[in-house]
Assembly symmetry: C2
Homo-oligomer: 604 residues x 2
């Protein structure tokens, strides 16, 4: 069976050799962090994952979350997982000390979350959502709300969730109907239903704090009428006890994958006794919620990359253990009298494994790069802060989508490496194939992310985010030009960037003319083009770091480690980068056939 789910050295290489972490851990806020204790933290969470997460991955799939008599039941081992995570300070890890946290840089936080999701993608989500919910209260909530909720959430005593989607308003948040009427005592009466609530309830917590979008009576239609509320499952009584706040678990969604992670249908105020507390100002709920959504989007990318990693390790192990077939000799014949060879020797198997590596480690690199931007944004001030924010905004749809979409391709190739066995329940690949499918649906589908990318992120501030991104890309191209082996790839990336610019120059006039339907019709193809370019940038950056390490005598890691990086870089530039040009052909084709014409009801 699969014995490994992640290669820790891949994360360390990025943290220690690819990214310059010094402006983050050199800052006084993070003075208690250095590369050495970051390594110890990674080791310690890896050890925890080896012991408490990975061994339960299959079981959480085969004994899924279930609903019975008004209660959601998660796998019994979740109790121990959450207790362990609480002990390690994980729930509040990203919070400042004053907010009961351990002030962990986001770059380190995401690296650890990658490890845990690779080990078992059903388990770490509860803590992530709790942290995201508490963080919303910290950022936008009153002191009273903070005093009431943050410590217990940071300790993992209470859980948290984000409540957006409703049955009639999936991706269209402006249509949510959950209502809030002012009780005149600082509370609101909440009524409505929320669906697909990840981590919405479990039997192992005294309380779940739902950060809930609702519409105050009389508020205008659309997103401007949406406010954010804290709605606890159980509310505090005057004597400090808890009483039921009329938040009911109505059902658990039966899903095809990630079956260990609760996805709840919640009813608020079924008995007209559900109280909510307003966060910040009325009408700004969606704006606030974007903090948590952006975090959850990156978290989705982390889950996808984690699953892709576990699948790669399982395929790699199988390929190393399985003998099958022979090579053709000079006459194009196989000599059946010789022993069969390891399938690791077949070019096509190596192609599939390299595809898996390219996607997995490319995703790792982008996730950590963006986490570093996040840290720098929060340390910087003025224009620099704004610039980091812009580049984060531009890359968030990619961090969310690339590991989700290409992660599926990666896992499917991983399953293929095992042949027929990959399709059987005897190996974990079929589970990863099911688990990862949700990632392109969570937190805004790929279609929504693509519209966001092209329609908002690429145009905002007169395209400044894209300009800043271009500077980052060309910094790597210029550095890569200094290495003979990398020059060709540097030229390819340069050409890809020019293709992007030319394609956008073709598309932008539609937006300027107010024809947004034409402008955005093929946004999904732009997502494919741009995300391929982004990961190409990350691979070239890793290639430069690998060359540097080899030229310096490979002191930190074995020579073969760095050669593996360069091999995967070559894979990416031969097999993945050419798609950029074909995407551009599609995007500059002016046959707007997907836009529905009048009277075309019948022709689909």
């Amino acid at each position: 069976m699969a014995e490994k789910y992640i290669e820790l050295d891949d994360l360390r290489f990025i943290l220690e050799e690819v990214l310059d972490l010094s402006p983050v851990i050199g800052h006084e806020k993070y003075q208690e962090y250095d590369l050495e204790n970051i390594q110890m933290m990674l080791d310690s969470f890896k050890e925890f994952s080896d012991r408490e997460l990975f061994p339960y991955s299959t079981e959480m799939d085969t004994k899924p979350v279930y609903f019975k008599e008004g209660q959601i039941y998660v796998h019994p081992h979740i109790e121990k997982v959450n207790a362990g995570l609480a002990e390690m300070g994980w729930f509040g890890a990203m919070f400042d000390y004053e907010n009961h946290g351990i002030q962990m840089p986001m770059t380190v936080y995401r690296a650890i979350d990658l490890i845990m999701n690779a080990a078992n993608n059903s388990a770490p989500g509860y803590a992530l959502l709790t942290a995201g919910a508490a963080k919303l209260i910290i950022t936008f909530g009153s002191q009273e709300l903070q005093d009431t909720y943050v410590e217990k959430m940071a300790n993992g005593e209470w859980m948290g969730s984000m409540c957006l989607t409703e049955p009639q308003a999936g991706s269209s948040l402006s249509d949510i109907k959950t209502s809030a009427s002012d009780n005149g005592d600082g509370t609101y009466n909440i009524e409505g239903q929320k669906i697909f609530i990840s981590g919405g309830d479990m039997q192992f917590t005294d309380n779940v704090i739902h950060l809930t979008l609702a519409r105050i009576e009389g508020a205008p239609a659309g997103t401007k009428g949406i406010s954010l509320f804290v709605v606890p499952k159980n509310r505090l009584t005057a004597d400090g006890g808890l009483e039921y706040n009329d938040v009911q678990s109505i059902a658990e969604f039966e899903k095809v994958g990630q079956q260990g992670f609760a996805t709840v249908h919640l009813g608020f105020g079924g008995k007209n006794d559900c109280k909510g507390w307003l966060v910040g100002e009325p009408g700004r709920g969606l704006q606030y919620m974007f903090q948590m959504m952006n975090g959850a989007r990156i978290g989705t990318g982390v889950m996808g990359a984690g699953i892709a990693s576990a699948a790669y390790q399982a395929s790699l192990q199988y390929a190393n253990e399985r003998n099958q077939g022979r090579k053709l000799n000079k006459s194009g014949v196989k000599d059946a009298t010789t022993e069969q060879i390891s399938i690791m020797n077949h070019a096509d198997v190596r192609r599939m494994l390299l595809l898996q590596r390219a996607v997995t480690e490319g995703s790792f690199a982008l996730i950590l790069e963006c986490s570093r931007y996040f840290d720098l944004e929060h340390l910087a001030e003025g224009e620099a802060k704004h610039d980091y924010e812009l580049i984060m905004e531009l890359l968030t749809p990619i961090v969310k989508t690339y590991p989700a979409e290409q992660g599926q391709t990666s896992v499917s190739n991983g399953l293929q490496v095992l042949g027929g066995y990959g399709f059987t329940m005897d190996f974990p690949l079929q589970q990863y194939y099911r688990d990862i499918r949700i990632m392109s649906l969570y937190e805004g589908t790929t279609g929504i992310q693509s519209q966001d990318l092209l329609g908002r992120k690429m145009t905002m501030n007169k395209g400044r985010a894209l300009k800043l991104f271009g500077k980052e890309v060309y910094a790597v191209i210029n550095e890569a030009q200094g290495y003979e082996d990398l020059k060709g790839h540097a030229n390819d990336l340069d050409e890809a960037f020019k293709t992007l610019e030319a394609t956008l120059a073709h598309l932008f006039p539609n937006a300027a003319a107010g024809d947004f339907e034409t402008f955005l019709a093929d946004a999904n193809v732009m997502m494919e083009l741009f995300s391929t370019l982004v990961i190409g940038w990350q691979w070239l950056k890793m290639g430069v770091a690998a060359k540097k390490a080899l030229n310096a005598g490979a002191t930190k890691r074995p020579k073969a480690f760095y050669e593996g990086k360069l091999l995967t870089l070559r894979y990416f530039y031969k097999f993945e980068m050419p798609r950029i040009a074909s995407c551009a052909v599609t995007l500059t084709n002016t046959d707007m056939l997907t836009i529905k014409g009048e009277g075309e009801e019948l022709i689909l």
Copy 2:
């Protein structure tokens, strides 16, 4: 819930307007077939599928085949399905009258099989394998074997299977070990194990006739030492009864999809009492088996296309019923005070649905085109016969692989149309997503098919198959040039064919130099290039037929039907065809990085 799984008119359009069936049904062998009674047959099997197959699709998934105390148990409804199919003459449908068949042309047979697999892909496989096994006996077996087995198999009384794979010899058939020792009485003593045997056993038949590859003692190593045997589960006694022939069901493979179709681990001769009867000559087993394998490969494509069809119909229904979101106005804003619109109005949803149509109906067209070549091959003589055989050989890996690989993409996009609901067990998309995943593993993985395509089919007879194929392609290009709307597509297909030729001209010298590893390393990418071109050819051919029908006033089907075909053609040429050029870039890149160098053990 989903109400539909196939659009019968899509099949009729191909049979009546795209393909010229007259040389088939005009032949005296098929004098009892004409377009009218073919239509009646399709209707009758559709009605059967509506009643006996489609309503049981979910249940066969949720109550899978299981193994208990030596017996394989399939879903109880399979008994009624098989009885119904037997009554309609389906088991022997493709056999000549003299072989207890109804002499159905393969083109009609595959169209009906498409309907049934779209309705429920777990059920029709038993009949297909039984027919394939019996056909092997008819073609290569002695009169005695034919007299013993064919009638009962053609009646559906006995089932059949193909037994190739063994635990140590998945894709490498030259390594099979199952042994056959001559008993000197016309029988052989069989001993060995076979795995992944589709339809290998069930509780509802008196006998299963296993067409089994084994090695006669003393036979040479490799494929030349392999012979074919009939090995019944129960053998006939002198008095015409049945006695157990020591073929044991050892286990049922638990799979992630197609859970209603048995996949059995069989043991032969565990008690040293398993008899086999040699088919044809010793040492020619694999060669004979290719008849059944080729049939099963096309059958796999049929399953894939059937599932893709069912998924498309389910997505289409959802898209028509679900309201969500609004269009942007001229200022790039959505007016939240207006009603939400049907998601069918969103360009990205239409893109996904058109992708599904393009793959599904493109696969239908190719499957039926190849079935027509099959019929013509069997009616023709001399050089013409050989030419049809060559083109069939060339296209078989495509018919198998395109619906499998692009079918997965298609079904995954179909799931995406439903948003989060697509991931839940409330809709059938998640089942189709699991079911279709096996298609790129069955009957030779995509890797194997790709090696076969480039390494054998494209080079055989000095490339004659490819030349014949080119003639077919240019016949369509030339006809399309006559329609103003189709000229652009005709030019694109012409360019694609030239790209194929240039790419092959780059690759062939490696084969000529005996460097087969370099020649075949990227065969998988050639599969993607070539199969996209092949389906592009089929879509242009359908486009020509649609234009003809429209110009003639759309007498057979509604105008919107033909306009839908032209819309899907435009989709294919805008979104799919550009991949051909990017595949060519990869294939002509001479960085052979997937070929393992010496001493590279550690770098994957």
